[in-house]
Amino acid sequence: MTAALVRPSGIRLHIVTGKGGTGKTTVAGGLAMALACDGKRVLLCEVEGRQGIAQLFDVAPLPYAERTVAVVPGGGEVWALAIDAEAALLEYLEMFYRLGRAGKALDRFGVIDFATTIAPGVRDVLLTGKVYEAARRRGGKDGNRVYDAVVVDAPPTGRITRFLNVNAEVAGLAKVGPIRKQADSIMTLMRSRHTAVHLVTVLEDMPVQEALDGIKALRDADLPVGRVIVNMVRRSPLDGAARGALSDGTIDAAAIEVALHKAGIDASPLLVDGLLAEGYDHLERLALQEEQRTILSGVDVPVIELPLAADGVDLGMLDDLAGILAGPGLP
């Protein structure tokens, strides 16, 4: 089953986006671990300088260098990289032009600073360029790919299309030359069947709306949409019968009082009313969640739900997430 994650679908580049606060870094981490099953090697990248991966995996802040952050059962490895635009530019210049002294001169004249802070889109070009390089890199004697899959903890939904599409814009600006060629190759990978953009959301009005807008924007830009990943879904302790009894009034203050006595709990009116209020509040939230779930089911993108972690995210929780993500239904 896990083999189905990587090979048959052929997706090698997973871009994880989502509205702020929906937990896209956690999902990206869980996805990387899921993809690393069966002895695979996966690279998890971040591009926004937040050191979110280091916090997630509880390791020291990541430098601009690839290193292992997790080993999964079966010998798979998750490597991580915090991509830094300035370092990527110098590396790029060195790799393609063997600039040496000229590269240093560029730095001395403030070109690197200029290029990475203000020049239109260069930052995004460099970040996507490094992702592209890692996704295609081959090594060793057999010339196999270094990474079986690359997962990117990408910018939020509001910026994702612009971020991924930046090379198309560069191609519009630079009509010839190596940058144009590079931009074209990156866009070819981004738009290919080897790439999938996953949108993380929660079952609330604004994040769902943003995910829908994101799907439309990605499709308008010919970028491949992978999955909608609904994060932090609350598991309800109330089953269907309990919900029904609460909403039709079978369970009222009197019924709660009786049961509390049986449970050996002092049934003060404050407690009884409080439990009832919490129950109604919960029903209201469930109804709103259901509404959002219905909206999502109307979109022709497969949806995966991930439960809310009861005690915050830790490494054990990441394993659980990976298990769910590795289940049927993932690309």
Partner: protein
Amino acid sequence: MTGPNRTGAASRRQPAPRVVRARTAALAAGPLDVDALLDDSQTHIIVCCGSGGVGKTTASAALALRAAERGRRVCVLTIDPARRLAQSMGLSQLDNTPRPVDGTRSLRGQGSLDAMMLDMKRTFDEVVVAHASPAKAQQILTNPFYLALSSSFAGTQEYMAMEKLGQLHAESAGSGRWDLIVVDTPPSRSAMDFLDAPERLSSLLDGRFIRLLLTPTRGPARIFSSGFGAITSTMSKLLGAQVLADVQTFVAAFDTLFGGFRQRAEATYERLKARGTAFVVVATPEPDALREAAYFVERLTREQMPLAGLVVNRVDPPAASLTAEEALAGAGRLDGADPAQAAVAALLRLHADRMRLQDREAHLQRRFAAAHPSVPSIAVPALPSDVHDLDGLRRVGELLSTGV
């Protein structure tokens, strides 16, 4: 690059400010008094900041509405409101101009509320048209680099939010149309980007590269720019000669404009530091959001910027006080086969979940308060549904005032 090592424009010009740190949590500031802040006629600018997804936009709209209904003449600058929230304030179109919001209930008819949504490209275009000669403006507006920079690249939103704030403030100072401006900050990767925008612009303009691009390629100046030939040829090799020509045209045409823009951005930055401004940091009771809030609070303190306090949004207090352990033990004593008992057992488990969540949230808030004892804060309960009308905003406003 933004990051902890990057300091704002101000700290470069001034000696490092003394950071006053209270020694013990016993000195902890009290709750954030939102109404006192809104009613203080000396409060002229309120900036809502925080990481993405914490409810900044809703909080700034709610603060603005509450201030207006308490008698202030308010303009709220929103950056990227949810569609329905925008519609509730009459912002169905993006025309970059403050418009009166219908349906506010102002105290004694004194207050008023105008709202606008930032259109960054339009703001940028307006700056160009206002500050460059017609011929030069035309040259800039059609340059491919300008088009890319003004419409689609990260960072521009922050510059333009700053620019628009400056414009609104100048207008209110001139006409007296508003006495309070509430600003929402752009949904950037970091809450700090808003503060760093003018500094980034300055560092660009002071950069030798820009100077070099503006230097005539012939004549005596050439002598001083040894190595520049190597750079231009490298750039041409990388980008193609036509791109370099476009960049040079763009930079040359922009030179005069940038000067004024930078001055205004710095003036706005200074105004943000002055009395009359209040920063309200918004977070949710989650580790990431509070961590970002902590960075921001530390940064504001370091730069001696006026921090009003922290709003901890969407806390979820239980309605009953039974402990989680008691609730779970009680649930275990009930008979699962009996429908009524099973339902009440489920309610007890639900309550236990909420108690545990509250413990976790309270722990995070205590940790923040211990690290930042001088920052007043208020916790605001989660609304079961999203806000998309004035009544909803009014309710959030009340919650901001009273807290949990």
